[in-house]
């Protein structure tokens, strides 16, 4: 606990130093939510459109904002003023909002602590450091502005409960998490199968099943219930059952419409490094090829040459993708693992299940943000030092994913900061992992035969050269591009970053996917690599 506190204090110092750095529109979004939840009655929360940044997180998060707004009102009443507070970003507002993220991070530390209880001290310290000093959380939460640390902390609490065999608690916390941010629902099938087979088995399976179902439903009702209730109360004066139901439906529909904006398109403005980034790039390349070959190509694709890669859902050559396709792909990529969980649900493997689930959601999901890579990188860090292969994969994957966050920060003051933070993190991890695994060999002699072959973590030639390529991509994007194509093809550097990173993420995903089929022992995950990819 002491070590965690010290690390958290160090990280907090860095966060304080980052306070005046660039913040995205998310800062104003969250400020507006403070204002909405503070100055409006509950039934207006999801209806209000005073500001364009309407509330689009599930109800628990709205309540969280309500809680914060109580303090904000005391701190500086203008923050929670619906109209006068618009685009309010004074020093006091900045301090309050940034401070609230730092304080909310204590949930992350709590989750981390409760997951790491009972680990060997060396290993625990390493896991703490890997999570606490994560540049991804720094970039997304403390520069760009969001509350991912808080939400991931809830996820870690749930994972800790599952690991300790407290299935019911884990399930309930997860249900609550989904009611904080619905994007976490991707792991729903995994939770469902795991809890069904692990908790609802044995002699008391029926009792347990109903216990679980009622608790989870209870959480959902607690979250969405008030909106249903206010819908009914509001329409009671009409004394017509029809109107009454329609009003209820309206409220729930309104909440759901806000939560699932399918109108937004397959990809975000900047493509997250997933399969669709590759798909888009392939489409672009093919359309150029076809044009060169003299075919007539759909000309609407010119849309994304004007600067930012806009919302992109019409393809020149390849078939377009619908939400249903992405949904089916996420689910089917989960199937081998779901089968595996069904056969043998193991509490010690829960983190692997969840990490994989979020990886699939990221690879194939609809309108995925690059920030969603935190959803699997942070859980992955809990198991990063379980084995040397994990350490290798984690070092690689976290570097790729965090690098793909770079375009979030595009202003000059933050540029050297994000580069240095990532470089230092990766170097430090590499050093710590090498130390950890070499000490482990000297000390207890665990997996001696294997570790003595490679006493230091080594990424291997393929991954190292891939990471080196990343540096080239970055140099090209920052300097090379403006010499080669001045004032033209402005989307190209960003496209290169996301396409290049997607290859790295895809590589790791394929290994995990394959391990879903393998009958190989679980303790080496992913399975032993081919000789030519190895060290």
């Amino acid at each position: 606990m002491g070590e965690l506190l010290v690390m958290a204090a160090i990280a907090t110092c860095v966060k304080i130093l980052l306070l005046p750095s660039y913040h995205s529109t998310d800062f104003e979004v969250h400020r507006n939510w403070l204002a909405i939840t503070h100055s409006l009655p509950v039934d207006r929360w999801y209806v209000d459109e005073t500001s364009e940044w309407t509330l689009d997180y599930p109800p628990f998060f709205a309540w969280f904002e309500r809680l914060l707004s109580a303090f904000a009102a005391v701190w500086d009443p203008r923050i929670v003023d619906l109209s006068a507070g618009k685009n309010y970003a004074s020093a006091s507002c900045l301090l309050f909002q940034r401070g609230s993220v730092m304080v909310a991070d204590s949930v992350l530390y709590l989750g981390l602590w409760s997951y790491c209880k009972g680990m060997a001290p060396d290993k625990r310290k390493l896991v703490y450091a890997v999570v606490v000093f994560s540049p991804g959380l720094l970039i997304v939460d403390h520069i760009h502005f969001q509350y991912n640390g808080f939400l991931l902390g809830i996820l870690l609490l749930s994972l800790a409960a599952l690991k300790q065999g407290k299935d019911l608690l884990g399930g309930v916390i997860f249900a609550a998490l989904v009611c904080f941010k619905h994007l976490f629902a991707v792991a729903g099938p995994v939770y469902f199968v795991y809890l069904l087979r692990h908790y609802c088995s044995g002699p008391r399976r029926l009792r347990n099943f109903f216990q679980l179902a009622i608790s989870v439903l209870g959480v959902v009702v607690l979250a969405f219930g008030p909106f249903a209730y206010y819908g009914q109360v509001g329409s009671a004066s009409f004394s017509s059952p029809f109107l009454c139901t329609s009003k209820l439906c309206f409220q729930i529909q309104q909440v759901l419409r806000r939560l699932f904006p399918f109108g937004r398109g397959l990809c975000h403005a900047y493509w997250a490094p997933n399969i669709w980034a590759m798909y888009n790039t392939a489409d672009k390349a093919l359309s150029i090829l076809f044009k060169a070959a003299g075919f007539k190509v759909n000309s609407t694709t010119a849309a994304y040459t004007g600067g930012l890669v806009g919302e992109f859902s019409s393809y020149a050559v390849l078939p377009s993708i619908t939400p249903l396709i992405t949904f089916a792909m996420v689910l089917s990529s989960l199937v081998p693992w779901l089968y595996k969980i069904w056969r043998n649900p193991q509490p010690s493997r829960v983190v692997y299940y969840i990490t994989y689930a979020y990886m699939c959601g990221f690879m194939f999901g609809w309108h995925v943000h690059e920030k969603a890579s935190l959803h699997f990188v942070v859980p992955f860090s809990l198991i990063a030092v379980e084995s040397m292969d994990n350490a290798n994969d984690y070092l690689f994957l976290s570097t790729v994913c965090y690098y793909s966050l770079f375009p979030l920060l595009y202003e000059a003051p933050e540029y050297p900061i994000k580069v240095l933070v990532l470089l230092l993190y990766s170097t430090l991890l590499w050093d710590c992992f090498s130390n950890y695994f070499s000490v482990k060999v000297d000390g207890k002699g665990e997996d001696k035969s294997k570790a003595s072959r490679h006493s230091r973590t080594a990424l291997g030639r393929l991954k190292s050269s891939y990471l080196a390529g990343m540096i080239l991509i970055e140099i090209y994007g920052q300097f090379g591009h403006r010499f080669l194509f001045p004032q033209r093809l402005e989307f190209l550097p960003l496209m290169l970053v996301s396409a290049y990173c997607s290859i790295g993420v895809f590589y790791i995903w394929v290994q995990w996917f394959r391990s879903g089929f393998s009958i190989h022992d679980w303790s080496t995950l992913p399975p032993p690599k081919d000789k030519k990819f190895g060290v």
């Binding site: 070590e3 160090i10 130093l17 750095s21 000059a412 003051p413 900061i417 240095l420 230092l424 170097t427």
Partner: protein
């Protein structure tokens, strides 16, 4: 357990044996330097002296104004009052090397943001872009001079120490919060003059006496404040020379090195007596009084009881300050002339600069950086000094930094310093209670309004509190300079027991 990393970094964590297996000191030095650059950049995100505060702004505007002057006016006009150079508005009052440095940075600024250094029209020019550029000029100066000097010093002075200890002391020098806050927060280029002085100290330790003389002369020519170190360099080099075969010849050689460096720096002004005097008149600020604001030195603190400025005329005060300073530096100088040694030389640097800080005329809060540097350089030899000195130095600058809007980085860097370098177990009751006292004073300053009759009461409290520390440290280090035994650090004690 020889394989286990020695616990030096984040001692309360006992875990990061940074670069334990690093192939060389150089690799670790690069890593530490990267961390140091990151902290500097983070500090640079915050406000600076006089941000958005017309008509005179602050040190940031002064530095920018000098860039504007030097790239737009002929050298002969840099220190002269002309229609294009109003000396009343941040006239150049540092020696020529600062002017040349401003010229180079001015060219850099002009390349990326022409408006920011345009003659006349750029007064008070502030933009996000130009702030980033200005911050970069400091970071680059730091990287060019201060970092190499610190690495060279550690490599030279701590040659016999273990790898971990050398990395640790390098980290302490590069991450020392007082300098970071002044250079990268408040906005100045102390890293240049102090870096040159550290380089000179490294040269002295390596017995490259001519290099030392050249580097120290350069340091003096960047900021006249480096004079605080001059007695130490002078007496040590004299002491060394006296022990050589041809003492007079050696002194002459070193004197020639100093004079020719000075001549080179002053070359553009050497054509007439008048020009030299003009520059000199800008460098000696007699008219500015015994002290400014609330600095933790003898004059300011004793002024609470004895009103020096009303009691005596300026001329007498100057003489008084001179005599008092001389009396305080004499023991250290004498020691170095009689028994020159490397450790004694660093202690003399420390003692002399503190003597100047306490007693010389026109001392600024920021001058505490001068004693802080040798105090940090001696960290492994004098483990008691840096632990008390660095927090004390920070605290003595607290009111200044609050005025600059640097409250948050102040606390963040102070906390990082404690977490990174000071082990929890070293907090004995004395340390804990002094820390508590300091904390209470900070809170008082921030939260309470001073009584209307004494608007600067809390500043005076802070000055008096830190002065007590400084005086105690000063007496202790003077004692240490004359005593021959070394203080053993805890790690060495442990080694001895084994």
């Amino acid at each position: 357990m020889p394989k286990n990393p020695k616990i030096l970094f984040f001692p309360s964590l006992g875990f990061i044996g940074i670069m334990r297996d690093a192939p060389s000191f150089r690799v670790s030095a690069i890593f530490i330097s990267a961390v140091a650059v990151l902290i500097r950049l983070l500090t640079g995100l915050h406000s600076y002296s006089g941000a958005g505060n017309p008509p005179k702004y602050g040190d940031y505007e002064a530095q920018r104004h000098w860039m504007e002057l030097t790239i737009n006016l002929p050298v002969s006009d840099w220190y002269r009052n002309t229609t294009d150079n109003d000396l009343g508005y941040w006239g150049l009052d540092y020696p020529p090397l600062t002017a040349y440095q401003s010229y180079i940075h001015g060219v850099f600024m002009r390349k990326f943001d022409e408006q920011s250094v345009a003659l006349h029209s750029s007064r008070g020019y502030e933009s996000l872009h130009s702030k980033v550029l200005m911050r970069w000029t400091v970071v680059l100066s730091d990287l060019a001079i201060f970092f190499p000097a610190a690495i060279a010093f550690v490599a030279a002075y701590y040659r016999q120490r273990s790898h971990e200890e050398r990395v640790w002391v390098l980290a302490l020098i590069l991450l020392q919060p007082a300098l970071i806050l002044i250079d990268h927060g408040h906005f100045q280029y102390n890293c240049l003059s102090l870096g040159l002085a550290i380089g000179a100290a490294a040269a002295v330790i390596s017995r490259w006496e001519i290099v030392a003389c050249v580097l120290f002369s350069l340091s003096l020519n960047h900021k006249q404040m480096s004079m605080y170190y001059a007695p130490a360099f002078f007496s040590h080099l004299l002491g060394i020379s006296l022990r050589k075969k041809y003492p007079v010849l050696n002194v002459l050689k070193l004197g020639a090195a100093v004079l020719s460096t000075f001549a080179l720096c002053w070359w553009p002004f050497l054509h007439s007596r008048e020009a030299v005097l003009q520059v000199l008149s800008r460098l000696v600020p007699i008219h500015r009084g015994l002290f400014e604001d609330y600095v933790s030195n003898f004059w300011c603190v004793s002024n609470l009881l004895i009103k020096w400025k009303q009691l005596l005329p300026d001329r007498v005060l100057v003489q008084l300050a001179f005599v008092a300073t001389l009396a305080c530096i004499l023991p250290s100088m004498l020691q170095q002339i009689l028994r020159p040694s490397r450790r004694g030389f660093l202690l003399a640097m420390f003692n002399c600069s503190f003597a100047f800080y306490f007693f010389s005329y026109q001392v600024h809060e920021k001058s505490i950086l001068l004693p802080v540097i040798p105090g940090t350089l001696l960290a492994l030899d004098e483990p008691l000094v840096w632990r008390w000195l660095i927090p004390g130095a920070l605290m003595s600058m607290f009111p200044l930094l609050v005025r600059d809007g640097l409250l948050l980085p102040y606390f963040a860097l102070l906390l990082l310093f404690f977490l990174g370098f000071v082990p929890l177990r070293s907090f004995n009751p004395v340390a804990a209670s002094s820390l508590l006292g300091g904390f209470v004073l900070h809170l008082t300053y921030l939260l309470l309004d001073p009584p209307a009759r004494y608007p600067y009461l809390f500043e005076a409290f802070i000055a008096a509190y830190t002065f007590a520390y400084f005086a105690a440290i000063f007496l202790y280090t003077n004692y240490r300079q004359w005593s021959r035994n070394r203080v053993l650090s805890s790690t060495q004690k442990r080694k001895k027991k084994v």
